[in-house]
């Protein structure tokens, strides 16, 4: 286990280095990307631009700029170009809504994806399977902003069942947090429930053809026990991988549409604004956050593999 963690840590460092260098270089390559020009404003004189350049170190070689930025990122003092505020404080402020979104929606899509997928496979070819298939395909093809708008209008505005927008911290008002998050969770998980139930249905049907499932039936087990105890566990592998990656994607601001439709003010919105302003420091930090989330979650996925299947060993 210690060996496994050490290897994962090493790969995390390698990934972070590669991803930050790439991000930094991309912003250098963008035309008209000189941040000093934008910071100086439209009417600035060349002298002012030069002053800003000198002050921020933009005239130095790229690698020096990279090292300086990384130093600031690592000691938490990095300042954004456009608003000149501490980036890490911004992200710490934006993380709670994003993490709330990821956890709630992640649980919802895993749970409902598995339940619907299993039901679909158990009744393969029959009415329930067809109904679930239609819902899954509908969910997959539903645009989040459309679904979000519909929900906001009916649930929030017309019927006044749920609050319209914004984020309430869990610590200050748990019920408020829950009601504010409910619509975002639904909007975000609908697509994934569709995808997961389809994937699981296919995996379950594959597993049902395995010899040990025949053995389980030959033992005289009930069909439910065969399905849950022998089929499901062997079908979960693909889902677990998918879940890890999707979860990391949401943590890293991938759910930007949901965040902006419901005005949660999460990491995704911050990332989108920063990219629009060609603001390198926040983008660097958010990219690193995504990379960390992906590496950590794939390590967790590997642990889950070892739990699900005893033939998998972590040291390997």
């Amino acid at each position: 286990m210690a060996w496994f963690l050490a290897r994962r840590l090493a790969s995390l460092i390698a990934v972070l280095f590669a991803i930050t260098v790439l991000t930094f270089l991309i912003f250098q390559a963008i035309p008209d990307g000189n941040p000093a020009l934008r910071m100086a404003g439209r009417l600035a004189s060349p002298q002012e631009v030069r002053d800003i350049s000198r002050q921020w170190g933009f005239e130095k070689p790229i690698y020096v700029q990279y090292v300086k930025t990384m130093e600031q990122v690592l000691d938490g003092s990095v300042i954004s170009y456009s608003q000149q505020v501490n980036v890490e404080q911004e992200i710490v402020r934006d993380l709670p809504p994003t993490i709330s979104l990821a956890i709630g929606a992640g649980i919802a899509w895993l749970l409902f994806g598995v339940v619907f997928g299993l039901l679909s496979a158990a009744y393969a070819g029959r009415l329930l399977d067809r109904v679930l298939t239609v819902f899954a395909l509908g969910g997959i093809s539903m645009p989040v902003f459309f679904l979000g708008a519909i929900m906001l209008y009916w649930l929030g505005y017309e019927w006044r069942l749920l609050p319209l927008e914004g984020y309430v911290p869990l610590t200050s008002n748990p019920w408020g947090w829950f009601t504010h998050m409910l619509m975002p969770w639904i909007a975000l998980s609908i697509v994934s429930i569709g995808v997961y139930s389809r994937v699981l249905r296919a995996n379950v049907l594959d597993t049902m053809g395995e010899d040990y499932v025949r053995t389980a039936r030959a033992k005289g087990l009930s069909e439910r026990r065969v399905l849950v105890h022998h089929v499901l566990r062997n079908s979960l592998m693909g889902i677990v991988t998918l879940w890890g990656l999707d979860f990391a994607w949401v943590i890293g601001g991938g759910a930007i549409l949901v965040e902006s439709v419901f005005n949660l003010g999460g990491v995704g919105e911050y990332a989108a604004q920063s990219i629009g302003r060609l603001d390198v420091p926040p983008v660097m930090v958010i990219t690193m956050l995504v990379a960390c989330a992906v590496v950590v979650l794939s390590a967790l996925v590997d642990v889950a593999y070892a739990v699900l299947d005893p033939r998998v060993r972590l040291a390997g």
């Binding site: 010899d211 040990y212 025949r214 030959a218 033992k219 005289g220 087990l221 022998h230 005893p310 033939r311």
Partner: protein, 624 residues
């Protein structure tokens, strides 16, 4: 009749309604109620091409502590028959008719919940492949306990696990009490099958359906498992329906034998009758297939040296893999193997699964990188050859794999597969097309069959295509050497290039016995005509006996015995070779020398191709 084995039982009764011979076992009263009474059982699958009758009016009885063997080849319906009795054959496209009574209770048409209470408790089943039949993610003890608790919900988990340990002990698993907590992958193949048997016995089932219980196991393990079944029959009065394709397996254990072909029982009677006086031509065909074909060419005299110069020389070949986990030692798959193969000779490597025989073979083709050692083909070191040189050397190599279905591209016509092999060896376009046809004819197929896809051929035909592909070098080499020459194939392929080397990896073990023979004869014939050398890897000693000049016996990565075929088979010196030979199931010698066998063996055998064709069409309709 009773020249060997048990005496012929008394009381052979004339046939009943179906005309089969019913024989009462000497130990039981003839009037005693059969445990399992199957009458006119039929299973029909509706397919797109119409209905397919998998089981067609099958009737048999199983009496207490009796072993009934159902023998048939793949597709004969024997397994469908067993799974129907278990109530596991179902689905909207399946029609089941007839009757099957277990201790008087009708199974056909019984409710699912009724069947579920019978399955595992009164009627248990053991399957072919214990590796895939056990759930890999649950401990074996839990899997046994689960069955107990499914039928007896009041038993606690601890009690059930305790009982599981007891059962595993009973079926001869060493350290059974600890192994309860083992996962299937931590047990050997034989132990896994013992777990399956323990599971089947866990609720005191009186009838065991064993579907090819030893086919996936090594011969020595097979002998142990069969002995275990026999022991259970004798000590505990277990009744067994043993389903198998192999007469040699049942010869020793069965009281009665039923032979199935195309869904019907074509012959049924006491073991002695069916083995010694088979009445049906199909039974005879199956039995005949077990006697190795007569050799086309004489064995080289014992003790003669390998013909010089050697075609293939392997010296101190080693292959090791890193062990799983950091502190585990490397696994030595091949541990210092040295071999020579002369031009035109056949060297057989025999041994159990995991002994390194296939790894050695794959090293010769450099499909696996050797860790150390040299492999010289005609003096050139294959083990260290660079890319271009390796490609040139590989042109003289052909490899035939075990499963022809898996080793032919399913989306490519077999003619195109052969053309590809020829293309690699420098033939293109029209030339390759013609040569592909030639290759097909050489292996006993027609050039027109090149337009077919692998699934349109029978198993035997597919393996012939596999052999044709391996022979591509003989044609291409000759063409390149002397275009348009009309010399005989052996002169063309053989002399000009110094002979081909064919690597045969269990070339017949996935084929039915009756087809096997034809393929073995083809290999012998090709060797006589083309002068190619074979390295044959096999666990089946009758195949080896039929074709090998010399035999190398491998055990745990090492060659423990190497010598002339006859010498090794008749006077084995290493204890492992002796164990292997002793475990190999064979027909009693009385069967081999029965009068009908002699007469028929001397007849010309032209009946193979039609038998294969009929099977091919059957398979196709199954696949749909």
């Amino acid at each position: 009749m009773n020249s060997e084995g048990r005496p012929l039982p008394p009381g052979v009764q004339p046939g009943r309604s179906t005309g089969e011979r019913i024989v009462a076992s000497p130990s039981h009263q003839p009037e005693r109620e059969p445990l399992l009474d199957v009458r006119e059982l039929s299973v029909t699958f509706a397919t797109r091409e119409g209905s397919l009758s998998a089981v067609d009016g099958v009737s048999f009885q199983l009496r207490p502590s009796e072993v009934l063997a159902i023998v048939g080849e793949s597709g004969s319906g024997k397994s469908v028959c067993a799974s129907t009795l278990m109530g596991l054959t179902r689905g909207p496209n399946t029609t089941i008719a007839g009757s099957a009574r277990l201790e008087g209770e009708e199974l056909i048409g019984a409710s699912q919940s009724r069947l579920r209470s019978i399955r595992g408790a009164r009627l248990a089943m053991v399957f072919q492949d214990p590796q895939s039949s056990l759930n890999p993610v649950h401990r074996v003890g839990d899997q046994i306990a689960e069955q107990i608790r499914a039928h007896k919900p009041l038993v606690s988990k601890a009690q059930a696990l305790d009982r599981a340990g007891e059962l595993m002990e009973r079926v001869g698993i060493p350290r059974a009490r600890e192994r309860v907590r083992a996962y299937p992958h931590e047990l050997s193949g034989g132990q896994r099958q013992r777990v399956m048997i323990a599971m089947a016995l866990s609720l005191g089932a009186k009838v065991l359906l064993a579907d090819e219980p030893t086919t996936a196991l090594d011969v020595t393990v097979q002998a142990q498992i069969l002995a275990q079944l026999k022991d259970l029959r004798e000590r505990e009065g277990l009744s067994i329906v043993l389903i198998t394709h192999d007469f040699a397996v049942v010869a020793d254990i069965a009281d009665r034998i039923a032979v199935m072909q195309a869904g019907k029982i074509v012959e049924q009677g006491s073991a002695e009758e069916v083995l010694y006086e088979p009445a049906h031509p199909y039974t005879r065909e199956l039995l005949r297939a077990l006697v190795p074909p007569t050799r086309r060419r004489p064995l080289r005299p014992v003790g003669s040296a390998v013909p010089e110069p050697a075609l293939l020389e392997i010296e101190d070949l080693r292959v090791s893999y890193p062990g799983r986990g950091r502190r585990v030692a490397r696994v030595q798959a091949v541990d210092g193997v040295s071999l020579t193969v002369g031009a035109g000779e056949t060297l057989a490597i025999v041994g159990e699964s995991g002994c390194g025989k296939t790894t050695t073979l794959r090293c010769i083709a450099r499909l696996i990188e050797p860790t150390s050692g040299t492999i010289r083909l005609r003096g050139h070191d294959l083990a260290r050859a660079r890319r271009g040189e390796l490609a040139a050397l590989r042109r003289d190599l052909g490899i035939v794999f075990q499963d022809p279905q898996a080793s032919l591209n399913p989306r490519r016509r077999v003619g195109a597969t052969l053309e590809k092999a020829l293309h690699v060896r420098g033939l293109a376009g029209e030339q390759a097309r013609v040569s592909a046809g030639e290759l097909l004819e050489r292996v006993g197929l027609s050039a027109a069959q090149g337009a077919r896809y692998p699934h349109e051929l029978s198993g035997g035909q597919r393996q012939r295509v596999g052999i044709a592909r391996a022979l591509a070098g003989t044609v291409a080499g000759a063409m390149a050497g002397s275009p348009g020459s009309d010399a005989s194939p052996s002169a063309r392929g053989g002399q000009a290039r110094g002979g081909q080397l064919l690597l045969l990896d269990e070339p017949v073990s996935s084929l039915d016995a009756s087809i096997r023979r034809g393929v073995i004869e083809l290999l012998a014939d090709l060797q006589a005509r083309l002068g190619c050398a074979y390295v044959l890897v096999s666990h089946d000693l009758s195949t080896v006996e039929a074709v090998a000049d010399r035999i190398a016996v491998m055990y745990a990565g090492k060659i423990v015995e190497l010598g002339d075929a006859r010498e090794v088979l008749e006077h084995p010196t290493h204890p492992y070779t002796r164990a292997l030979l002793a475990a190999c199931p064979r027909l009693p010698s009385g069967v081999r020398s029965a009068g009908w066998m002699d007469r028929e063996m001397s007849l010309q055998r032209d009946d193979l191709p039609p038998a294969e064709t009929s099977r091919a069409t059957r398979r196709q309709s199954f696949g749909a």
